[in-house]
């Protein structure tokens, strides 16, 4: 094992030998290594966010015909660092009447739940935080905990807007979780494992070629899970001032902010791992460090798409958002999963091109059928109210009140 | 090692706390939460039997899985009923719902 090919495991090996040499018991060494490793990973992730913010602001600036950050450091690279220092030095303000415990713990959950997902993501052939056999379920479970960050924040703030925002957010997250979870099933089914590393290893070809529609739905729903534009109803500035984090300031707000960006990047990681072949690439097995490179290239590409969507799409109205998941995405994802399972079983597994061709054909057929059906039903009462704007605004306010 | 009895006694206590809550709380929502506690006590019991006595069999695990499904269904319907009652009678108080009084 050479330092160049696999620096992280090299250092870990060296460190464990060092500690053992000091005469520490092996169990303790393992625990210490885990603590050091997770601490490092979390720190790297948090620092990576500064780059992400810069990246996003730069791209959005270009799209909106501006420069973006360009004062602090070369190309404005240190802008985020400056913001960070500013946020560290700000005063913590707790408004009157907050529910202290949820108010305090909400930002911690918001960041922690995202970071926890990194624990099971395989960054390269032999670098994965913990090789959990039910990694997919773990990610979903952690996603469920992440919702508590929003609920706690919204409830604890003792603010009407924050509470309404939490309502919206929870409704949106629960609704979009259905197709989200169903789309997780496709890679699980195709690879026959819930272990993320196994899924990555099984991607020959990448699953996006076997299940393009599944990948599309996954991409859409994961954006909704993050709550980014066009699904950022929870912090719709024009309606709710700023969302569930309206009463937060200083570092607490900063944590929400960081959690948001980190979450966006995490779903890009997941998308890359589940559908774009993860760390796979030429010689990635032999030289694990290449796996990092491939993986970050792929996920940055996915993240670029997320940013593009943010910059170019208007926000959904709440009833459209709900209709979209329950009436379109959920049935569609169920169809895709069941049909993929059926067709993949029928196609010969060893003839790769037949398999790819058959599944792509299936996806095209389903897509066209969905398109036709939507065309037909768009004129029916199912979606009628969407076409009447003044009526719908009333409807959305009613829905808000009822939650 | 932890003896089986610890788990069973823990589950019994948890079950009875839940039972007390189901009987004594006024708010229907709270009753539902206590019901979840009772179901969890049952799950603990099943899994501890599995872990200590029937580790090679799958029945306990299947049972637990189905209890999860039943709990989800129960919560969904229970909450729907509570919301519906709340809409019609503007109360979620178990004591106020005595239309069947003799």
């Amino acid at each position: 094992m050479s330092f160049v090919a696999d620096p992280i495991n090299f250092i870990a090996d060296w460190l464990s030998k060092l500690l053992l040499g000091w005469g520490l018991p092996p169990d303790l060494v393992m625990v210490l290594l885990f603590i050091i490793g997770s601490g490092l990973l979390a720190t790297v992730a948090m620092l990576w966010v500064t780059i992400l913010i810069w990246y996003e602001r730069k791209i959005i600036g270009r799209i909106q015909d501006r420069f973006g950050p360009n004062r602090v450091g070369p190309y404005g690279l240190f802008q985020s660092i400056a913001d960070m220092i500013k946020i560290f030095t700000k005063e913590h303000i707790s408004p009157d009447g907050v529910d202290w415990f949820p108010f305090t713990i909400a930002p911690i959950i918001a960041v922690g739940a995202v970071l926890a997902v990194w624990a099971v993501i395989p960054f390269s052939a032999n670098f994965v935080g913990t090789n959990l056999s039910v990694g997919i379920l773990f990610i979903l479970a952690i996603g469920g905990i992440g919702e508590f960050g929003i609920v706690f924040g919204g409830w604890g703030s003792n603010n009407k807007y924050a509470l309404l925002s939490a309502f919206r957010a929870v409704a949106q997250l629960i609704s979009y979780e259905t197709p989200y979870v169903i789309c997780f099933l496709i890679p699980v089914m195709l690879s026959g494992s819930m272990n993320l590393n196994d899924i990555v290893k099984a991607q020959d070809p990448w699953f996006i070629f076997l299940a393009p529609l599944g990948a599309l739905i996954f991409f859409i729903t994961s954006i909704a899970e993050v709550g980014r534009t066009p699904f950022d109803l929870a912090e719709a500035e024009s309606e709710l001032v700023a969302g569930f984090n309206i009463e937060y300031s200083g570092l607490k707000f900063g944590m929400f902010y960081v959690g948001d960006f980190l979450h966006s990047f995490t779903i890009s990681l997941l998308f890359a791992a589940l559908f774009l072949g993860g760390w796979k690439g030429p010689w990635a097995e032999q030289i694990p460090v290449l796996g990092f490179v491939y993986f970050f290239i792929k996920s940055s590409a996915a993240y670029f798409l997320v940013i593009l969507l943010r910059a170019s799409m208007p926000r959904f109205r709440i009833d459209q958002m709900m209709d979209f998941t329950w009436k379109v995405l959920t049935p569609l994802s169920l169809t895709v999963v069941s049909m993929t399972a059926l067709v993949d079983k029928l196609l010969p597994a060893n003839l790769i091109w037949v398999r790819i061709g058959g599944l792509i054909l299936l996806n095209i057929i389903i897509f066209i059928a969905t398109d036709r059906l939507l065309d037909i039903y768009w004129k029916k009462p199912l979606f009628q109210k969407n076409n009447q704007v003044e009526d719908a605004s009333k409807a959305s306010s009613v829905k808000l009140g009822a939650g | 090692m932890i003896p089986l009895s610890w788990y069973l006694i823990f589950a019994a206590i948890l079950f009875c706390i839940g039972l007390f809550g189901v009987i004594a709380r006024r708010n229907l929502m709270s009753v539902l939460m206590c019901l979840e506690l009772m179901l969890n006590a049952v799950n603990i019991n099943l899994l501890s039997f599995w872990s200590y006595l029937y580790g090679k069999d799958l029945q306990a695990l299947v049972f637990v899985a189905i209890i999860f499904a039943a709990a989800a269904a129960e919560t969904a319907v229970g909450l729907a009923l509570i919301i519906s009652v709340y809409r019609r009678r503007v109360t979620v108080n178990a004591n106020d719902l005595d239309m069947m009084k003799g």
Binding site: - | L19, I23, V62, F63, A94, L97, M99, M100, K101, G102
Partner: protein
């Protein structure tokens, strides 16, 4: 597809049909009957395949067609559900499949498919007929049933339950089918729910059979707790289990577990097969759509009760000494024979064409139960099959008669009761096909010698009773057979022979082929099925290991059944051939006051009303308040008062008022009120307080169990 899979699939099509019709075809009349009919046809075809396979399979009783899956994990094992086709279930499957298919076909015609919708027909009421203009003249024609699709949904569900009950291999699934049939029976009897009489009859049927079902459930629970299984083969084909059941004493004194469980299961049959004293619901069940629900209550569902006891005969007979009877068998012999003659005598004096058949059904079911009670296992099974065919035929035939009469009544505008036999007559000219098929069924029911199925099966039962030496049962059943022949001929004569006695009868007309074709098919079976006796006996008899009871070689039963049948038929014809319209029933002259007793069904309904329904009110209103309080106590007091005013006054002030009036009135008159008011307080309507009560009772029971039963 293997035979086992096919057996699994038999009950499925009707269930799907039920779901499809209920969910999607509520208003599609034609589509609903096509769906139901094709479902029944599929099940029929599968049943016939299974039957054909079963009768060819050698040694079917010892090696039946079996298949089961683990359903519910219980303790270390699991509760299995599965299917089992042995000789008994294969023959039952045969007749069930045929009769169900025939009902389905017949129903299309009976509900006037193809006719216009009536202008004033309402859902929940029988159709009244529609005006139709034809060649510039308006006349009334029958109109289609408004809830046509719903009817097919219900009988599909019914067919599903019946098939489930027949093919299953355990008592729990049988109980499931049994209860679903109870539900369907309720729904179908109350099909015309806007008629108060139909509503009442539905409730009555449901509640009465519920009494039996409750006992059966107890028996099921007892069986499970004693043996740990409800599977037929593990209990009934297992001599070790049967011996153990027969030799261990149950908590009820003087009964073994086998005896107790047998009696409890038999109670279920008493409810479902309408045996005395729970027979009262069956005649009222004729309120349903005439032939179809009636036939469900005659040919298939009530057969389920008999099927159950035949199935559990090894348990009932467990511990039986040579030629002796176990307690359940004594009960069956007694109740069966009594019901047979009891219901037959009632049937003699009925004038509603369907009620005669209803009581005849009760009576014939009594024959089967009695046959089991004397150990004539094969005879009971044989009569079950034969009876299903000819009674189905008779009911469909009577439905056809009623339909024809209704048509005639609409046509002639004559306001007659289309079900009253005394207003018919001479129909054999108008409805020849119905007449001949009805005659075939009637002769079979009466046991017309040698050519009909009923003769052979009844002869089997009589010779079983005679050969076993049960002379009381033998004589009773022979008498019942005589009466059966008599009322059958009475019915045939009144309905079909002679001259038309009303306008409606003279303008009645034959029904369409869709109604008469099932009659023809069933008539063939009603006659020809009896010829299979020689094959049937060893086939079903192999279920018991030996060939059941040895049939008597004596000629006495044969001659008896021959005589009673012929004499009964002759008597019926002689008495009624000259009947004229609006005369009293000729039987009334002969029997005198007994006729009234029979006509009112021994006042059983009134008896129940008096004994079980009024006493609560009576005890409070009459006994306590009037008799004890006013007449007895007040009378005594008045007498005392007259005897000595001063003494009276003294007693009155010191004894009467405080002790008698207040005290006893409190005890007898007021206490129900107080208790009621007190108990009422327990019904707070708050679910949590109910939980407290329930849990406290559970704890008390637990404490008692712990104290009594050492763990």
């Amino acid at each position: 597809m293997s035979m086992e899979t096919l057996v699994w699939l038999i009950p499925l099509p009707p269930l799907l049909s039920f779901a499809v019709i209920i969910l999607f075809l509520g208003r599609q009349k034609a589509a609903s009957h096509w769906v139901a009919l094709s479902a029944a046809g599929l099940s029929w075809a599968a049943s016939m395949l299974v039957f054909a396979f079963a009768i060819q399979k050698p040694n079917l009783a010892a090696a039946p067609i079996l298949s089961s899956i683990a359903w519910l994990p219980v303790g270390k094992g699991s509760f299995n559900v599965g299917v089992q086709i042995d000789p008994l279930s294969s023959v039952v499957l045969f007749f069930v499949a045929w009769t169900i298919l025939m009902i389905f076909i017949y129903s299309i015609g009976y509900h006037n498919f193809g006719q216009p919708a009536g202008s004033d027909d309402k859902p929940g009421l029988p159709p009244h007929g529609a005006e139709e203009t034809h060649h510039h003249e308006t006349h009334r024609v029958p109109s289609i049933e408004p809830l046509y699709a719903r009817f097919f949904a219900f009988i599909s569900l019914f067919a599903f339950a019946m098939y489930t009950l027949v093919v299953t291999d355990n008592l729990l699934a049988l109980y499931f089918g049994w209860e679903v049939m109870g539900l369907c029976s309720y729904l179908l009897i109350g099909f015309w729910f806007a008629k108060p009489s139909a509503r009442d009859a539905a409730v009555k049927a449901f509640l009465t059979t519920r009494i039996g079902d409750m006992f059966m459930l107890l028996g099921l629970a007892a069986l499970y707790s004693v043996t740990g299984t409800l599977n037929y083969r593990e209990v009934l084909s297992n001599p070790a289990v049967l011996d153990k059941l027969a030799s261990t004493a149950s908590p009820i004194a003087a009964l073994s577990w086998a005896g107790l469980i047998g009696l409890l299961i038999f109670m279920g049959t008493v409810g479902k097969s309408a045996q005395f004293p729970l027979h009262v619901w069956l005649p009222d069940a004729m309120e349903g759509p005439t032939p179809v629900s009636a036939m469900i209550h005659a040919a298939t569902m009530v057969s389920a009760g008999v099927y159950l006891v035949i199935r559990f005969y090894p348990l009932m007979a467990a511990g039986r000494l040579d030629g002796g009877q176990t307690p359940p068998m004594v009960a069956m012999a007694f109740i069966g024979a009594f019901t047979a003659i009891f219901a037959a005598t009632i049937a003699v004096a009925q004038n509603d064409v369907k009620r005669v058949l209803a009581y005849s059904t009760i009576s014939q079911l009594g024959f089967m139960i009695a046959a089991l009670g004397v150990g004539a296992y094969v005879a009971a099974a044989f009569h079950l099959v034969m009876h299903a065919f000819f009674k189905a035929l008779l009911f469909l035939g009577s439905g056809s008669v009623i339909h024809g009469m209704e048509h005639g009544a609409l046509h002639s505008g004559d306001e007659v009761d289309p079900q009253n036999m005394f207003e018919m007559g001479g129909l054999f000219r108008k409805m020849p096909l119905t007449f001949w098929t009805f005659l075939a069924g009637g002769l079979s029911l009466a046991g017309f010698p040698f050519v009909t199925a009923g003769f052979w099966s009844k002869d089997e039962i009589l010779s079983g009773a005679f050969g076993g030496g049960y002379m009381v049962v033998f004589i009773t059943l022979a008498a019942a057979a005589f009466i059966t022949a008599f009322y059958t001929m009475r019915q045939v004569t009144l309905v079909f022979l002679g001259k038309p006695r009303t306008q409606a009868a003279s303008s009645a007309s034959e029904n369409s082929l869709v109604m008469t074709l099932p009659l023809v098919v069933l008539a063939v079976f009603a006659v020809a099925a009896g010829w299979s006796a020689n094959w049937f006996k060893p086939f079903v008899g192999s279920m018991l290991g030996e060939s059941g009871i040895e049939a008597s070689t004596s000629l006495v039963p044969l001659i008896t059944s021959l005589c009673v049948s012929l004499i009964g038929l002759l008597a019926g014809w002689l008495l009624y051939r000259g009947y004229e319209a609006r005369q009293p029933d000729p039987l009334e002259n002969i029997l005198g006051p007994v006729y009234n007793l029979l006509k009112n069904k021994y006042w059983i309904d009134e008896f129940y009303e008096r004994v079980f329904m009024r006493p609560a009110a009576w005890v409070a209103n009459v006994l306590v308040s009037v008799w004890i309080d006013k007449i007895v106590l007040d009378g005594i007091l008045h007498w005392i008062g007259r005897a000595g005013l001063s003494v009276g006054r003294f007693l009155r002030s010191k004894f009467d008022l405080p002790v008698i009036n207040t005290g006893l009135e409190t005890v007898f008159g007021q206490s129900p009120l107080y208790v009621g008011n007190g108990m009422k307080r327990a019904q707070t309507g708050r679910v949590q307080e109910y939980i407290i009560m329930a849990m406290i009772v559970v704890i008390l029971v637990g404490v008692i169990v712990i104290l009594v039963v050492p763990i």
